[in-house]
Amino acid sequence: MTKYIIRRLLWVIVLLFLVTLITFIVFYLLPSADPATLRAGRQPSPALVAQIRHNLGLDKPWYDQYYRYMKALVLHFDFGYSYQSNESVRTLIFSRLPATISLTVGAAVIWLVIGIAVGTVSAVRRRSKFDRAAMGTALVAISAPVYWLGLLSLFLFAQDIGKIPLFPGAGSYVPLSQDPAKWFTSLIMPWFVLAASFAAIYARLLRANLIEVMSEDYIRTARAKGLPERRVIFKHGIRAAITPIVTAAGLDIGVLLGGAILTETVFNIPGVGRLAYDSILAGDLPMIQGTVLLGAFFIVMANLVVDVLYAFIDPRVRYS
């Protein structure tokens, strides 16, 4: 197992290296805005633009730039400096991470609780009114785009513009360390908006799995043993039906930690997603590179965690 994890970690490094390379190439090959021109102010003289380009190192060939970037990254864990604000990319990203983590983890708790509860009840009471209503709602939640849902909830419930002012609106995010109560209330709407489609997907996934599992022979055995139905469902049924949920949750959380771009943008939460979005608009290569690298890191790590977790959930899975 340890060997397996080490091998996988080495692969993570190779993968991240490839990700930086691809981002670099994409940035150079695709027609993007010229960072130097963007930075030079209105109607700049060509000399100024050339000067800026030289200062940023953009006049060198791309492989040379890439080499410098990688050298700083590997030797000093230095992600470079933002073209836009001249701040350290590393510092900026780490300052934005808490907001993204707050958003993702809170939403994940909500969608797991709702998804698992609804999925279980729907599967156990298949074709009941509850099941039909829940699966109908799930279809709506999956179909609704998150930005639409976000704007709708702001329009309905935000304290500044909402029809029924209940929760703080967009741009009200306060770090946890500053004011836990405000942090919590400001995130309620983003959490639910982000969690909606995930909760729906998880409910459907668990429902389908649990229905299948409940017709397995070992469930019949559990009943034949005279176990209470509650125990049959929870200990024997859900235990077996939950594995795909764990996989999905690991990967989804991994993706979102790299930045929940739409939700962060709609609610104006200063997270990594928002940072990535802004840096793309500004053609800020070091910033883009940093956020992409962070996103890739979370995704590959989530994959690894899921695979390792699998061995704990399903005793038949063994890595060597």
Binding site: E216, D217, Y218, R220, T221, A222, R223, A224, K225, G226, L227, P228, E229, R231, H236, R239, A240, I313, D314, P315, R316
Partner: protein, 372 residues
Amino acid sequence: MSAPSPLLEVNDLRVAFTTEDGVVHAVDGVSYAVSQGRTLGIVGESGSGKTVTSLTTMGLTRGRNTRVSGQILFEGKDLLTLSADALREIRGNDIAMIFQDPLSSLHPFYKVGAQLSETILAHRKSSKAAARDRAIELLQLVGIPDPHRRVDQYPHEFSGGMRQRAMIAMALANEPKLLIADEPTTALDVTVQAQILSLIADLQSRLGMAVIIITHDLGVVAEIADDIAVMYAGRIVECAPARRLFANPEHPYTWGLLESIPRLEASRDRELVPISGRPPSLINRPGGCFFHPRCPYRLEDHKRIDPWLEPLPSDPDHKVACLLSPRVRGEIWRGLRAGTPPEELRAALVESERQPGAAARVGASGPSEAAT
């Protein structure tokens, strides 16, 4: 069947499932009884209702789409009228069941020992440690070597025969009065089959429980059953003490089952005779005798008249549901044993039907007394 009050007595059990295609009459008027220390073998093809009968005994077919009628008396209590909770207390405690495929019947994610302890803790007040000790003891009882190590292994680390032994251990955990074994050896190798059967027989003689063994294989019940019931299309078509059933089978379906078993003492060039056709649909069942579409000895009347399960005049413990007269049946069975092909016997039967004078040779047949 000799004890005054049997442990389990099933009376006119009917189970029907409503499906999208129609009502499936899975069990249709089945009656049997098992006493303490006895073994009943229920034999039949897939879909003959033998599994549904026992699952209904366990209360595992209850559901919105199921209609059940009749009586299942266990120690005098009708299991069909018991509440779900009361029935649950009997399940796994007084009545235990083992199933066909031991791999899929054990939970893949839990250790064998934990699954055993769980059965004990569901019915007994006991500490976890005591339940674990009992689990080890049970594994030893069913002949699993090194039970102290095995108790902490997962089902996938067990071989097929071991898994079935573990299932048996689980069934025996609370010393049941009745053990229902549903095709316990079907998924196993032939050598392992014999071991499992002798294990069941051995445990029965030690623990004194009643056993119902469900199988499609007459060879399996021949070894361990005291009584045998042959089921076809949701009904019992013949039942008798095992020896008498093998010596004098009375129903054409039983003949078919016996003739399709390879026998060592039979001559090499004698061909096995399969039962032609397929089991009938339990939604649209044939009229008359359910077996008539596949019966080589059917007469016109048999398509209309529904036979009842009736005792033989010569042997009240031997019951059969067949419209042929006992004499005709005797002649046909002797003919089959002598190697006469069914077609010839059928020709003789039809001939005797046409000319009542020839009846002396094959016996008078006509609609039997059962028809009324």
